[in-house]
């Protein structure tokens, strides 16, 4: 009897050990990749390094099919790759990939997730910018829809306001955009960032420095 109990205890301890090891491996790998991503030069990221980071996230995603975060970060990396890509074809390749990854993330999350919706809004914003004359109508509508859905899930998410602000910031003044129009939105984003705490240290926590940079620009 005693032996049996001991066995159960050990078996349990062992399985917890394995799960913990796996969990630790996951959060370690995620933390390392997120750090690498944050370590890139924001204004001019090196495409090769960024591709490598995107690949890392994709590998984690393949090994952890129940986690939406690796898919989310792989999507994020591909959106940035799409942004810095040269030529419309190259940009679209990455942006299409990002869109597919985010769809996967959505399916894994299982319920409406504000961070994924924000990233989808970001993807449509960059997709629009790649060919603005032909895409402003369709992508603009998509952007608005994603932003509205994200607000519905969590109106406190600061990245929602950061995206709205950046969209205004980079829209020419004659179309109702510009620094002046962006300023109140940036201030709102800044407030929300001040109050924001990510759920864990691997949950999304980007956009603050970009907001501050833009805000500094509007104050000039």
């Amino acid at each position: 009897m005693m032996k049996k109990t001991m066995f159960t205890i050990f078996a349990f301890a062992f399985s917890v050990c394995v799960v913990l090891a796996q969990n630790e491996k996951y959060s370690q790998a995620m933390t390392a990749s997120i750090q690498a991503l944050n370590g890139l030069d924001k204004t001019k990221p090196d495409p090769k390094a960024l591709q490598d980071i995107a690949n890392q996230f994709e590998r984690i995603a393949a090994a952890e099919p129940k986690e939406w975060l690796p898919k989310y970060y792989a999507g994020y990396s591909n959106v940035i790759l799409g942004f810095i890509g040269t030529g419309l074809d190259e940009k679209d390749k990455y942006l299409e990939k990002a869109s597919a990854l985010l769809k996967d993330a959505e399916a894994i999350a299982g319920k409406p997730n504000d961070e994924i919706l924000v990233m989808q809004a970001f993807q449509s914003q960059i997709h629009l910018a790649a060919d603005a004359t032909n895409r402003w109508e369709a992508d603009g509508a998509k952007f608005v829809e994603y932003v509205a859905s994200a607000k519905k899930v969590n109106a406190e998410n600061p990245r929602i306001y950061y995206l709205e602000a950046s969209s205004a910031f980079f829209t020419p003044e004659e179309f109702g955009g510009g620094k002046k129009a962006a300023k109140p939105l940036l201030e709102k984003a800044s407030q929300k960032f001040a109050a924001f705490k990510p759920e864990t240290n691997i949950h999304p926590d980007w956009g603050k420095s970009e907001t501050e940079w833009m805000l500094a620009q509007t104050n000039q």
Partner: protein, 582 residues
């Protein structure tokens, strides 16, 4: 107890030696793919390929593992590898994803305007902004190679064919009277607002087996799925005033349009060579309702009513006074509803529709009264299945009930036709470079009491990264103009055979396209009046008729568009075609 510790230790990954996995990743042609992701599935082990496509990484996995490779724009692959020892010199070859730029498209005879397809030659906005087209869809199409501008009649004239030989199709449904009724010497506008449509495809020949009853061409118009702006809009110019109202919620929307037009102020400014007694006055309204009952399902109901009224003196050298008086009142209504849906990630899709149209012309010419009335009820269903490798197969059927009346000075003629058709068509990608489309259409017309069988065939071959050639051939049948059937019920189908060879190159926003065509006409209706040809579109055919007419049209069309070098420079096209018909 010791046993468990031993067990724990033995399971620990550190107890095993690392192995190296290395190799090279390339495309099908052997070009290195830098930046590709190579990894063992289900593990964290993997790497990114370097500038030469070389990869190398360490793993603690043993026995066998699945090596996966992904690269943006390419299809992912997996292969099993053994891990007893280090594995070197693995060769991974990836295939490019099928997409518009590397996959051939069947283009012979077709001009497409679309925002969604990058290979489309025109954007919907181009239709609105084409100079001289007056924001009229058919007006814009007349500028494309293969089409002719005929200023004095209604209809789209393609490659020597008459306006009757082109059918306008909205969401799959034939539109009975797509133009305002015409008058001698006056060009007629299309009835539809170009902003209603998201995609337009104009075929100048060799078109799909999904469509029939057009010897020359079809103009396919697809209505938009949603409204772009909410609220009330007003438009005003010299010729007309319009009001439109849009309202949309998440799953449904409604658009209403009403307009009134009068050409009097315009004609006062622009001198006319026609003497107007009552300048063209027209009014109309339309209502569109769209509902999205399911994720991919869209129901659209569109209804429109329009009428026009005018009176003029046209020059007539044959009459004593040198002119003929003409009055025309037209009333037209069209209701169509379509439902489209798809299932299983788009592998099955459905297009169905039902429509009714009615048109009434009341004309008085030189004191004689003519009345024309027509009515068409139609239903259509098409099911298509997406197979592996982008191959598709579709089948469908349509049925029309047509009723026509023609009155001449108190005498009335009446016609009824039940027309049914079935079709099957398959698009096959033999490789990414070579594709074919094979279709067969069969039709039965109760008034002709005859069945026809029309095969259609197209091939396209990608000759380079940006260029391709295509070939289209087929047989096309059409019922004779119904006015001939009033007096002769023994007429049969009219037929045209098309052969089209097309070359196009699209690179850097420049498009060049050359097309050679041969069109053979047979069994055309011929009328023997014993008099000289009378161009009056309103004359009633009194002469004896048979199906002995034949002829041909052949020629070249060129199309060149450059949006790169000069901003806002439009396209030009050139066509040459000797043709005869008798």
């Amino acid at each position: 107890m010791k046993f468990f510790i031993y067990l724990l230790l033995s399971i620990s990954p550190l107890a095993h030696a690392q192995k190296t996995v290395s190799g090279k990743i390339t495309d099908k042609k052997g070009h290195a793919l830098p930046g590709a992701n190579v990894f063992l599935k289900g593990t964290y082990d993997g790497t990114t390929s370097d500038a030469n496509g070389i990869f190398s990484f360490q793993t603690f996995e043993k026995d066998t593992a699945t090596l996966a490779a992904t690269y943006v724009g390419y299809e992912a692959t997996e292969q099993k590898i053994g891990l007893k020892d280090n594995v070197n010199d693995i060769s991974v070859k990836l295939e490019e994803l099928a997409k518009e730029l590397n996959t051939v498209v069947i283009t012979a005879g077709a001009f497409e305007a679309s925002d969604e397809k990058r290979m489309a030659m025109l954007k919907p906005l181009d239709i609105v902004t084409t100079a001289g087209a007056a924001a009229d869809i058919t007006g814009a199409m007349q500028f494309l190679p293969g089409a002719q501008r005929v200023g004095e009649q209604e209809g789209l004239f393609v490659r020597g064919g008459s306006g009757q030989e082109t059918k306008v199709v909205i969401d799959g449904m034939i539109v009975q009277n797509s133009f305002f009724s015409s008058l001698p010497d006056v060009q007629s506008r299309g009835r539809f607002n170009p902003f209603m449509f998201k995609g337009t495809s104009f075929s100048t020949g060799g078109y799909s087996a999904q469509y029939g009853q057009a010897l020359s061409s079809v103009l396919l118009l697809n209505t938009t799925d949603k409204v772009s702006n909410n609220g009330l809009g007003i438009s005003l110019n010299l010729a007309n005033a319009g009001l439109n109202y849009d309202y949309a919620t998440k799953n449904q929307s409604i658009s209403a349009v009403a307009y009134y037009g009068n050409l009097k102020p315009l004609f006062a400014l622009v001198k006319q060579n026609v003497e107007w007694l009552h300048e063209p006055e027209f009014k109309g309204s339309s209502l569109t309702y769209r509902l999205r009952p399911r994720k991919n399902g869209v129901l659209k109901v569109y209804g429109m009513y329009s009428d026009s009224d005018l009176s003029m003196n046209s020059r007539d050298p044959a009459s004593e006074s040198g002119k003929t008086k003409l009055d025309l009142q037209n009333k037209n209504s069209f209701v169509t509803s379509t439902y489209t849906d798809s299932w299983k990630d788009g592998r099955w899709s459905l297009n169905s529709g039902f429509s009714y149209s009615r048109n009434n012309d009341n004309t008085t010419l030189a004191g004689f009264n003519f009345n024309r009335f027509d009515e068409r009820t139609q239903a259509r269903i098409v099911l298509s299945r997406l197979l592996s490798g982008n191959n598709t197969i579709l089948f469908g059927a349509e049925a029309h009930a047509i009723r026509l009346k023609n009155g001449f000075d108190g005498k009335f003629y009446d016609l009824k036709d039940r027309y049914t058709a079935a079709f099957i068509e398959s698009e096959i990608y033999i490789t990414r470079e070579l594709a074919g489309r094979i279709g067969l259409r069969t039709e039965y017309s109760s008034i002709l009491k005859d069945v026809n069988l029309a095969p259609r065939l197209s091939f396209a071959y990608k000759t380079g990264k940006y260029s391709q050639i295509s070939l289209a051939a087929g047989q096309f049948y059409q019922n004779p103009d119904y006015k001939y059937l009033y007096t002769n019920k023994n007429l049969g189908y009219e037929r045209a055979d098309h052969l089209i060879l097309n070359y196009q190159i699209i690179k850097n926003q420049r498009t060049f396209r050359a097309e050679a065509f041969y069109k053979n006409y047979a069994q055309l209706v011929r009328e023997f009046t014993g008099q000289k040809y009378d161009a009056d579109p309103y004359r009633f055919p009194w002469g004896e008729t048979n199906n002995a007419g034949k002829g041909y049209a052949r020629g070249f069309d060129f199309f060149w568009r450059d949006q790169k070098t000069i901003k806002n420079f439009d396209y030009w096209s050139y066509s040459t075609r000797p043709s005869t018909t008798s």
